[in-house]
Symmetry: C3
Subunit: 352 residues, 3 copies
């Protein structure tokens, strides 16, 4: 007798506008996860690395790396949202709302905020707003994501198309709540690794983060399982060998984390990722690729009522198998240049 | 002057019936080990993943995954029991007796409960009952295992053969003590990932766990060292290149853990492995193999005095490089089918 | 506009005698790091593995493995000291001064204690004394290291040559402060894994540690990032493919840790590395190499005022792709034999 208790994932027909999806599995994130996060990306931001440093400026203790929080919250959504997804089309309006600390238990809920069948009638786009909460029910993270999902049956009727109106950037008036008021005079620039603050960066400045990191299969699999992300393409060589690329695809979040960790070299004091305005995985990344990164300062903003930190809007670009001394991005015909993996638009906070 | 202080491992002649072997090294298992366990197998059972979930139903906090406890206790036995073993022949009567939590220190002792020379006079079978205890001396785990061990000298006299009488299954009257009385009404099925409880499963039901996971050398080595398991075949390519398979063999416990983690998809609420009735590593597993799994419900049992949880006896089968939609197990002549790695018979507990 | 905020690393001209360099990033070391350390090397010394064991003899809890402390302190120095280094020439006078525990925050400072341009005028040798401190400012570790660093410009004038006078060994009168007074009668030799104590070892005794461990790229990268060591040669296959060896070079500290972990088999009670008298990375190590180790007892010393532990001075040799039954070290012409990776001279402490 064959069981029907296995989760087959949701198809386009299973989503409806306004629907709320409660995701399994709640996860207590610990210093164990922090150590793994460090070991997988080599991140060096002092606030997240040192309890002593974090306490000196006003945190309870070193908070989780914002992207660790993001990946854990995101990972929970994969069995329900993207198991049958063909493509992760984009992110928008991602905001970190409250610091998460080791010991916090994170869980995720998504709301369907848009839905639109594609003209081929075989797929559709689903827009969700996913929210990560801690054990007290406080929101720590919120983001919008849209994915292309297969239909179960080409003949099913199309739902009324609803496409959310997504702002191209998060208003800086709405960021920063994940950073407590800081005793910023106690921020030690020498041990943080750089003298540069908010006032030292200029719009238009481009930063080559210099270093490159070669990814191994074991590394991205360990990372992706750490987040309890179940997307099959990252783990199953037996099926991927017959797939589009003949090999496993690295979870895009691994590329984001690597680029962010590399950005320490040039942005060492930009310790907090406050918001992701938008992001695009331009090309797939595979084991064996060497990831480099560069940033451009797109905009600067003061934060209402805060003299401790200011915001830099950065374009963070990850590139594979070429260094970034010439800031590779697009070709003359406005297509992404060969090797570009990620084009991310984010707000980071940095002492003033 | 060459030292003789190195442990050469025990040979068949070194074991005697009734002998007690105290194993090195005690090990404090922490949230660091839990994070690594999650990252290596992607396990998602809510009770072990979330302190908040575990506390809501009556645990002190999230207990260790039962197999993490098993592997740590088992790993300690390897330098004394199986350093010169040719084969790990089987497991029986494995029971989880008390929950283990991060911070507990585990240690292992084995008693030789059977011994029998093989007719070739070159090897013999040794049966041990191994017991894992916490820092308070409480038993957390007990199991019987038998291995084929080399003789040091073919001419040594054979000991009197004693073969223990091992029950084919653990009596369900003797399982469940590792689960405290649960406030099962507070068990949240939505965030646990499945609505199915004890009453929803039927004897004979077969569950394809769908997903496959490709193993890398770094992954199984990291896992096996985490358990301080010293068996040489898992780590040394220099010698294994000249060995039977030409490559390192994955510790069988890695396959058990992967199969158990994959079984979440279909058995999400079967949060506790209460007993292993028997288990057989049917074929060796190597890096590069993609592991799939399926289960069959063999039996159902109520637990004396407990209305919170019931027991399902499952056959958990791990298979490599083929999916499990057709539940591969044996061929017409009762041999294991190609690709079958593991045939495990276990009791799992699940809310009623 | 191209930023100049990226750290290009220091060149020979940037160092001057007496200079103090404060290194980024302070790091809280946790049980997460301990779990990773165990999983990467398989270390089994009871004092570091078990809180219960450590407390029984007088520690607060299980201290960090001494080499984990070393690697974290060392890793911080790499962006400032060795980013443009061609070779890590040696270590001397390394002493562990105070136990470090999970939860401690470690930071590093270096002082330039010697500087000497090479006759080719393209490089020079820089000697630094690096100090690791905990969150209270207490020294936990101190060592001298010298590296060959590129000059930015061949024509820059040579500084006055100053070469520190480095003792060939740490005086045993100055070691042991990282071990609290021990209730050594409560040291349990059975669970520690060996009956042998200080009195059982003889000068000239050579110990083959038997086991070999094959290294994977993912393993050494994960290890090296865990220490926030940024040296490029360990991580970037894209550039190393065009480099001297065509592949990534394993951080030498990984080899030291592997050799130390392997030395458990024969030196199980030598639980503390008290000092490194000197050390040389004889040949580079690469992924795929299988590392073996052997030790020789060079000297024995009592420690002033201590009847609990004594010191053994050992030569710890790591070798690749050959076993150590014949204790490979040098050839007839006093060159290191093929396969020798590491020649380390250290003091270890062991119960009397």
């Amino acid at each position: 007798m064959t069981s029907t208790k296995t989760n087959p994932g949701n198809y386009f027909e299973d989503f409806e506008f306004g629907q709320e999806i409660i995701h399994a599995t709640p996860r207590t994130v610990t210093v164990g996860d922090v150590a793994l996060y460090t070991s997988l990306y080599g991140t060096r931001f002092a606030v997240q690395s040192s309890d002593a440093f974090a306490r000196a400026i006003g945190y309870e203790r070193a908070p989780l790396d914002d992207l660790l929080t993001f990946h854990v919250v995101f990972g929970k959504t994969t069995p329900d949202i993207s198991l049958n997804a063909i493509a992760n089309l984009g992110y928008a309006n991602c905001r970190f709302l409250k610091p998460a600390y080791p010991g916090d238990t994170l869980s995720s809920v998504s709301e369907v905020i848009g839905i639109k069948e594609n003209s081929n009638r075989e797929t559709g786009t689903v827009y969700v707003r996913s929210t990560g909460r801690n054990q007290d029910g406080d929101k720590v993270l919120e983001y919008v994501r849209w994915v292309m999902v297969r239909k179960r049956d080409k003949e099913s009727p199309a739902p009324e198309a609803i496409v959310p109106n997504l702002a191209p950037r998060v208003d800086p008036a709405n960021i920063g709540s994940a950073v407590p008021p800081l005793a910023i005079a106690r921020y030690d620039y020498a041990i943080a690794g750089s003298p540069y603050r908010w006032g030292d960066y200029e719009v238009g400045e481009k930063i080559d983060h210099v270093d490159g990191m070669t990814l191994e299969e074991a590394e991205h699999q360990i990372a992706t399982r750490l987040y309890q992300n179940t997307a099959k393409v990252h783990f199953n060589q037996h099926t991927e060998a017959k797939g589009r690329f003949g090999k496993r695809i690295v979870y895009g979040g691994v590329v984001i984390s690597l680029a962010r960790a590399l950005s320490f070299n040039g942005l060492a004091n930009a310790f907090h990722l406050a918001a992701i305005n938008g992001g695009r995985h331009v090309a797939p990344c595979f084991a064996g690729d060497t990831v480099y990164a560069w940033s451009e300062i797109l905009e600067k903003a003061e934060l209402k009522g805060r003299s401790d930190v200011g915001a830099l809007r950065i374009r963070l670009v990850a590139v594979k198998d070429r260094d970034c001394a010439d800031f590779p991005l697009k070709t003359a015909d406005d297509k992404y240049a060969d090797g570009v993996l990620l084009d991310l638009d984010a707000w980071v906070l940095i002492p003033r």
